[in-house]
């Protein structure tokens, strides 16, 4: 007997016609739903998008689930099982349709038999099992473990009920389809099936079980018929519901990955208008909002969320997604309406959300565009307004006179070259905090000592330097940013140097990645990289190894934004200190809370909440006895000096900036033991 089975067995012509009719209807609804979505995305504002991830990379990412598995191994693998299970079963049904409706009637080609049939049966059973197991694991994460990131709320912290129901229904529907699929196999086998059906082992075992439980073949046949429709209708309903429900993520997710700009968040767009209403959104962003699977990884990673501020990237995306259709129609202004001011301004633009999102959502660029829209309307926190006005007038955020910028250099025992008048090999772009803040000046002077001691030919811009503009841009004041860039470019172009070095990751980031948008293009390094060069070449020789146990905090703009993780670590190793990593390190580093202009704004955290910087110090202190908390960013110096005091750990940990650490290793050991 040839290994095959009859499709639509025991179904009359009328029934088959009904089935095909409903299938067609389901397809039409599905297509209509998709068209509706395309219309929605096209209601946005066409903007020029920079190069994206690309098709080849997207396929790789989706098939390997690399983004989904990042920092979520169990859920990631479970989803992998569900993904491939679903895909294989879907493909299996399609193959069958091709065979039944195209190959056999039109070409007389019947391939669903013999070894193919056996292989097909086994394959589908295995993957069907994978689907069911994966779903059960995911259901366990949601229902038993109750992971916080899966419990969606609202951006302002209020609870959100509707999504939870939809999540369970979606999960339940897939489980139902998987389970009934196996049940159908079992019932078929209980009716009396040839032994080669063993190649579908799950069904075969189920069938035996039913038979042994006393189910008569005739009963099995009746139940099978009814359940066939039960399964079939559910499947058709599921498919047609895809564009309208969570099922959409199956299409929108990969589409989101595909549309993710490679420079998303790192190099902001030259768009002066910003997002005031939903109609201003780029179509890609509208699409990305629909891609959200409510996995909550961004929520988990966000410093604002953890710090008790009224912002959760997940909830912001969901609020926007759920209101999109209506808001596109009404054209209502978003900030101050659907989105709270405090929500918008709580973001530190640290990119933890963008970095971890499995479906490529660009939270940071979206928030940035919303900020641009707000700023254009003059709608912002009064402290921020004051900070921006100060930067415009004084060229720095401290409101100090220009002449004071180089004051730290005048306090040194050696002269620091004025690169406006004398060429030098290295132009050291110092930055506001490093120039004006008293605590940071010590670190700045330490680096100057290192450079001078190593005989580096360097100079600074003195009064001609203005705020590099990184946070001004991240706050959405694109006009002021352009102004600052122009002033700095003018100053830089008038000088002679080979390379730029900076101790400030914010300046580093914008000079390297965004100034080229305006014409500036130089080699630019962070000071940790230069220090490493000097250590390797022997220009700096630690004369003692520091018997210190330290941890290192990766600054957002240096690490996650620019991938510079190793240079500071190698510097720490070179001075002989023992590095103990915090749980969240490298590209998973936890932001200090100063970025995105937050250091200029009022507090939005709920009373009593532990600030991001305090949480970070808690994390460090939990590593055990540490001598130093090492930082490589001036804002980190400010935030963590403060946090060490306010967190109550002042006696247990001490902050040191990288240059200060290296300088300490050069100091001769006190003869007093």
């Amino acid at each position: 007997m040839t290994e095959t089975r009859a499709t639509f067995a025991q179904m009359g012509t009328a029934e088959r016609a009904l089935w095909y009719g409903l299938a067609a209807l389901s397809l039409v609804v599905f297509i209509w739903g998709c068209i509706r979505l395309v219309h929605k995305y096209r209601a946005g504002r066409k903007v020029e998008r920079r190069p994206s991830v690309g098709l080849a990379a997207t396929i790789r990412i989706v098939l390997s689930h690399s983004w989904i598995r990042r920092r979520a191994t169990v859920s990631g693998l479970a989803h992998l099982a569900v993904f491939y299970g679903f895909l294989v079963l879907f493909a299996g049904t399609t193959i069958l349709a091709v065979q039944d409706d195209v190959a056999k009637p039109l070409f007389g080609f019947d391939f669903w038999r013999g070894s193919f049939y056996l292989g097909y049966s086994l394959f589908l059973d295995v993957f069907g099992l994978a689907l069911v197991v994966g779903l059960l694991v995911l259901a366990g994460r949601r229902g038993v473990e109750r992971l916080p990131r899966l419990i969606a709320g609202r951006a302002d912290g209020r609870p959100r009920r509707g999504n939870a129901i939809e999540d369970w229904v979606f999960l339940g529907a897939l489980l139902y389809l998987g389970a009934t699929g196996f049940l159908l196999e079992g019932l078929r086998d209980a009716e009396g099936a040839p032994s080669f059906e063993k190649w579908a082992p799950a069904g075969w075992l189920l069938g035996r079980g039913l038979h042994d439980a006393g189910m008569a073949p005739h009963t099995a046949e009746v139940i099978h018929h009814v359940l066939w429709w039960g399964h079939g209708l559910a499947a058709l309903a599921f498919v047609s519901a895809i564009p309208f429900t969570k099922g959409l993520h199956m299409l929108a997710g990969p589409a989101g990955v595909l549309t993710r700009e490679t420079v998303a968040g790192k190099q902001l767009a030259l768009d002066p208008i910003g997002y005031a209403t939903m109609r201003d959104f780029a179509p890609a962003h509208l699409l990305q909002l629909d891609a959200c699977t409510r996995c909550g990884k961004c929520h988990e990673a966000c410093p604002a969320t953890n710090g008790g501020m009224p912002l959760s990237p997940r909830d912001l995306v969901l609020d926007l997604a759920s209101g999109a259709l209506q808001l596109l129609e009404t054209g209502d202004i978003l900030v101050g309406g659907m989105i709270d001011q405090d929500t918008l301004w709580s973001c530190t633009q640290c990119m933890a959300c963008v970095e971890v999102c499995p479906v490529g959502i660009e939270h940071v660029p979206i928030i940035n565009e919303l900020r641009r829209g707000s700023v254009a309307r003059g709608d912002m926190d009064t402290r921020l307004q004051s900070a921006l006005e100060t930067i415009y007038t004084a060229g720095n955020s401290f409101g100090e006179s220009r002449r004071k910028r180089g004051r730290w250099a005048k306090e040194l025992p050696f002269e620091v070259k004025d690169i406006r008048t004398e060429p030098a090999e290295v132009l050291w772009f110092v930055g506001d905090y490093a120039s004006f803040d008293p605590r940071n000046k010590r670190a700045t002077q330490a680096f100057a000592h290192l450079l001078a001691g190593a005989g580096v030919d360097f100079g600074i811009l003195y009064d001609a330097e203005v705020n590099a503009g990184c946070d001004v841009r991240r706050v959405g004041e694109e006009g002021l940013y352009t102004e600052l860039v122009e002033r700095n470019l003018k100053a830089l172009s008038a000088c002679e140097f080979d390379r730029i070095v900076t101790t400030d990751p914010h300046s580093f980031h914008t000079l390297r990645n965004e100034y080229p948008q305006f014409g500036g293009n130089w080699r630019i390094d962070h000071h940790s990289e230069l220090i490493l060069e000097l250590l390797r070449s022997g220009a700096i020789v630690p004369c003692r190894t520091l018997p210190a146990r330290v941890t290192y905090h990766d600054p957002c703009k240096l690490g996650r934004y620019n991938g510079v993780f190793d240079a500071p670590r190698e510097v720490i190793a070179a001075v002989g200190a023992e590095l103990v990593e915090m749980p969240r390190s490298r590209n998973n580093s936890f932001c200090c809370g100063a970025g995105g202009g937050r250091i200029w704004m009022s507090d939005t955290a709920r009373p009593g909440a532990r600030r991001p910087a305090e949480l970070r110090i808690d994390e460090a202190v939990a590593l055990g006895a540490l001598d130093y908390f090492v930082v490589a960013c001036p804002k980190d110096v400010t935030m963590y000096e403060d946090a060490i005091k306010t967190s109550g750990h002042a006696r247990r940990i001490e902050l040191i900036e990288l240059s200060e650490l290296v300088l300490e290793s050069l100091a001769p050991v006190d003869s007093q033991a």
Partner: protein, 246 residues
């Protein structure tokens, strides 16, 4: 109603200063819109929002001072004009320079900041009013227009408020804190660069006052500096408090 706002770009001194003859060396000055004038512009804009009309910003200065006019335009002023000229610190010079241009505009109301942060004469509002033969009400913290008059709240010493009714046309000056000046996004300021600002010549006058010397203020007695780290300083303060308060 037509409102003219008189604004000034002032020089801001940091912690260092050098004198160049009888003026401060410009190298030591940062330039910005006079703090009081931001409140004046905002007051004018709010009045226009309430009763309708036109807001015209006027300043006296060289081409570089057009920045303050563009800021006013970016905040929402309808037009701007500049009187070309450099003023010294004679208290009546700004009013004399402004009067012809303001008179030509024939506004219903002229709004100034109560004083400038650099010259700090607080003279322009009353002097301008005299030249326009209008009443002047100075140091106002809120104003409303109703039926051809202005109702102004004068902020007196000690926080007492004197509410007066003024016939229009009038000149008023605005105190800080009278409102919250709106933000002028840089983009709007840069777009304002496209707007043409007519320039007027300065009518020459012989100033009746002259600055003959500038110097750093002396100390009223000697200040005893508390030395040491924060803990030391705190101890010394606590000791002083105990001694002097009891």
């Amino acid at each position: 109603m037509k409102i003219v706002v008189c604004v000034k770009e002032v020089g801001l001194l940091g912690d260092e200063v050098e004198f160049e003859g009888n003026r401060v060396d410009p190298d030591f000055l940062d330039r910005a819109l006079n703090e009081w004038d931001a409140y004046a512009i905002e007051a004018a804009l709010q009045l226009r929002e309430a009763v309708g009309g036109e807001v015209v910003a006027v300043t006296v200065g060289d081409e570089d001072t057009e920045g303050v006019l563009r800021r006013a335009l970016a905040m929402g002023a309808d037009r701007a004009a500049r009187i070309e000229g450099e003023l010294d610190f004679d208290a009546l010079a700004p009013a004399r320079a402004l009067a012809p241009v303001v008179a030509e505009e024939a506004p219903d109301l002229v709004i100034c900041g109560a004083q400038s942060s650099d010259a700090a004469n607080a003279a322009t509002p009353a002097a301008l009013a005299a030249l326009l033969d209008a009443p002047c009400v100075a140091v106002v913290r809120s104003l409303t227009v109703a039926g051809g008059h202005l109702v102004a709240h004068r902020e007196l010493e000690g926080g007492v408020v004197d509410v007066v009714e003024v016939d229009l046309p009038a000149v008023i000056s605005v105190q800080t804190g009278a409102n919250t000046p709106r933000y002028a996004a840089l983009r709007a300021i840069r777009q304002a660069e496209e707007i043409d600002i007519p320039t007027h010549a300065l009518a020459e006058h012989d100033p009746p006052t002259r600055v003959i010397a500038l110097r750093l203020p002396g100390h009223a007695g000697t200040t005893i500096l508390l030395e040491g780290d924060s803990a030391e300083i705190a101890r010394q303060i606590a000791a002083l408090v105990k001694e002097r308060v009891g």
